[in-house]
């Protein structure tokens, strides 16, 4: 028997999907349907968790239209002191896996052994009660997350310091601002001291400064020899916090390896799967296609591709192109646009910044460097445009989606609330008299 902190053996989790309601085609059948509905409802709600009909003895299952396999025969081990990231797109089964590991829901098949005291953070502020005061909630939340009362007693001052809400400790939490609530909740979570910590995407709360603080705390935790299992879409956090990674897709493990390997695999799978098809195969495009855009990459520090840049971060949009004919194209213009709901936010056109006549041939790429990304956090769409001798070669309006996170653009920790580009400016006060 192994001695790993967490060992997961052949875990499968099935869910029953809702089935379409049968529409009645006559009044008589509608009335009959209504009378019969308690029986059908009863069968439906009863059947929600029964999988005898699809489950085979060896842990496999017969696929059926109304059965969803959220986690499919997953096995892995996680040694003591390791920090492991679980990455994957939406619906890959990451959260379900964490729910099974934290015993919130049970596997349909398979077994998990956990050795050590475990705490799971699937949400910030679990068990917070709006009627209770901040002080009571610190105790309740701490204990719900797996601390003993004595432990909370000991760490109480530290927690309050970290949260910075000591003035409001005896006020009911329902009167807190949402930011205060999150800070208090995270302060409690940050002071957990288990052998094994399971964290689900909880770092995606609060402003940039607070996220920074949270990441720092996570670094301390992973550095202190504890076992950490971490789900995140923040690839930068994954690579810096975790030593090992697991890449899930449609409930199955696609790859395990070092966090770098797994992040690379995941990111490269994304540029293909995000809109379903790679850019060079897209058909919704204009132009004669003699030169085509093959890929748009968003690149951050260290020349690494990033998924979600932050406002204010240095970002390069890298537009890859491919010339179909083996000739030189003259007077080329390349352009990357960023838009959102029909509104354009950025128009990065080579002709705006250079008068040179650009000549291209073969394959290559154009880098558009933004020293400080002037976009507010939110989701945008990237488009590309290539022109040669005033002829449109390739124009794709929706090439790729871009998720921007609110970052520290103004270096004051403050963010703009309305949808407008961010601009650097300085202020000078002149008072009369």
């Amino acid at each position: 028997m192994s001695n790993a902190a967490i060992s997961v053996e052949n875990v499968t989790k099935l869910y029953r999907l809702g089935s379409k309601q049968v529409a009645s085609d006559s009044i008589a059948s509608a009335i009959f349907g209504f009378v019969k509905s308690p029986i059908t409802n009863f069968k439906k709600y009863r059947g929600l968790y029964k999988f005898d009909d699809v489950l085979n003895d060896d842990g496999t299952y017969t696929s059926q239209e109304d059965v969803l396999c959220a986690v499919n025969n997953v096995s892995f081990e996680c040694g003591h002191g390791e920090s492991v990231a679980i990455v994957g797109g939406n619906g890959a089964g990451k959260s379900t896996l964490l729910k099974i590991l934290s015993r919130v829901t049970s596997p349909t098949f398979g077994q998990i052994t956990i050795r050590g005291r475990i705490s799971s953070l699937l949400e910030v502020g679990t068990g917070f009660n709006p009627e209770l005061t901040g002080r009571d909630n610190v105790y309740l939340n701490g204990i719900v997350l797996g601390m003993s009362k004595a432990e909370v007693d000991r760490k109480f001052d530290e927690i309050v310091d970290f949260s910075g809400v000591e003035r409001f400790l005896d006020t009911p939490v329902k009167r807190y601002s949402s930011g205060m609530k999150v800070r208090l909740a995270f302060a409690v979570a940050a002071h957990l001291d288990p052998d094994i910590l399971i964290v689900d995407e909880v770092l995606a709360v609060g402003d940039a400064a607070f996220q920074e603080k949270c990441l720092g705390k996570m670094k301390d935790v992973t550095g202190s020899g504890r076992t950490v299992l971490f789900v995140s879409h923040n690839m930068a956090a994954v690579s810096s916090l975790c030593t090992r990674g697991i890449f899930l897709e449609k409930g199955r493990i696609v790859k395990t390896g070092t966090s770098e390997e797994v992040v690379n695999e995941y990111v490269s799978s994304l540029s293909v799967s995000e809109e379903g098809i790679p850019l060079h195969q897209m058909t919704k495009r204009e132009g004669d296609q003699e030169i085509i855009a093959t890929k748009i990459e968003v690149i951050g520090e260290n020349d690494a591709e990033i998924l979600s840049p932050c406002s204010g971060q240095e970002v390069v949009f890298r537009l890859h192109y491919h010339c179909k004919a083996s000739k030189v194209y003259k007077n080329c213009k390349f352009c990357v646009v960023v838009h959102r709901q029909g509104q354009f936010y950025l128009d990065l056109n080579t002709s705006l910044v250079s008068d040179e006549s650009v000549e291209v041939s073969g394959d290559g790429y154009v880098d558009f460097r933004l020293p400080k990304l002037p976009l507010k956090g939110g989701s945008y769409t990237l488009g590309s445009f290539i022109e040669s001798n005033r002829e449109i070669k390739d124009n794709i309006l929706s090439a790729k989606s871009l998720m921007v996170l609110d970052g520290n653009f103004y270096e004051t920790g403050r963010i703009i609330n309305n949808w407008c580009p961010l601009a650097e400016f300085s202020v000078e006060f002149n008072q009369g008299g």
């Binding site: 049970s106 398979g110 475990i118 202190s224």
Partner: protein, 278 residues
């Protein structure tokens, strides 16, 4: 950092459900959490009220007064010679406790589904918590019983020695029903709508406003299968010092033990799927 803990805990997670000694050990392990959830319920219950725990007295007291006027004075319900106010007081106080626990235990999982889906602790704590927190209200409301007994100068007899047994059953009966209802309510929200009606029916099915002695002889066994009958009759007899009517009490005790054990079993059987069927 003291990472090398001598007693390392090992948890095995599977899809199987079976009661074992481990479950009780786990309850001990989570005692701090249990205590704080009970404290939370107590603190939250009368939050932002002017009367605060005064409501624990006001609610049953108003009901007692109304029943005394309607059933005692107007309808003239026979009470075996006991003053109607006293007669109904010793029944309504425990009944208030039992109905509160049945309602809040039954809804405990649905009410706290946010927590249910995000964190693990023994699920049985959810329906257990209201049974304990409502004891505070009950203790406060016993003041009414004590005062009524002093006013009517009731002298405690040896029957009083049986009181702990009936208190225990007062605790177990609504808890067992709470186990059943909470496990059912998470799947079938019908429970929520049936509850207020069922509670009212249960109240009139038990000897709270009338005396059990008015039930015809041949229906008594059937009547006393209702576990609430036994609790109410037992409490009344032991407090007021009348002979304890065991024929009403024993069948109810058997039924309540069955409800409690089967409820715990059903709850355990269902708890692994709670989150999937919320």
């Amino acid at each position: 950092m003291a990472l090398q803990k001598s007693t390392e805990k090992t948890v095995v997670i599977t899809s199987l459900t079976r009661w074992s000694k481990k479950d009780l050990m786990e309850l001990v392990e989570y005692r701090d959490l249990f205590l704080f959830l009970v404290l939370r319920d107590i603190k939250v219950l009368y939050a932002q009220t002017v009367m605060g725990f005064g409501w624990a007295i006001m609610q049953p007291l108003l009901q007692i007064i109304i029943f005394t006027l309607i059933f005692g004075k107007v309808a003239g319900v026979p009470t075996d010679g006991i003053p109607y106010f006293l007669f109904t007081t010793v029944a309504i106080v425990p009944w208030t406790y039992m109905s509160t626990v049945m309602t809040s235990s039954g809804q405990s999982l649905v009410k706290d589904q946010g927590m249910l889906g995000k964190i693990y602790f023994p699920r049985i704590i959810y329906p257990l918590t209201p049974a304990l927190s409502a004891l505070v209200d009950f203790s406060i409301a016993t003041v009414i019983i004590v005062l009524a007994m002093i006013y009517y100068s009731v002298v405690p007899t040896t029957s009083m020695l049986y009181l702990p047994i009936f208190l225990l059953f007062m605790f177990i009966v609504p808890l067992g029903i709470g186990f059943w209802l909470s496990a059912l309510a998470i799947r079938f929200r019908d429970v929520k709508f049936a509850m207020p009606f069922a509670i009212r029916m249960l109240m009139f099915s038990a000897p709270i406003v009338y005396s059990a002695s008015t039930i015809p002889e041949k229906y008594r066994l059937l009547y006393s299968l209702n576990p609430i009958v036994g609790v109410i009759e037992g409490m009344r007899a032991s407090l007021l010092g009348t002979a304890i009517p065991w024929e009403f009490i024993v069948p109810g005790m058997i039924v309540s033990a069955v409800i409690f054990l089967s409820g715990a079993w059903y709850f355990r059987h269902m708890e692994k799927i709670f989150v999937d069927v919320i």
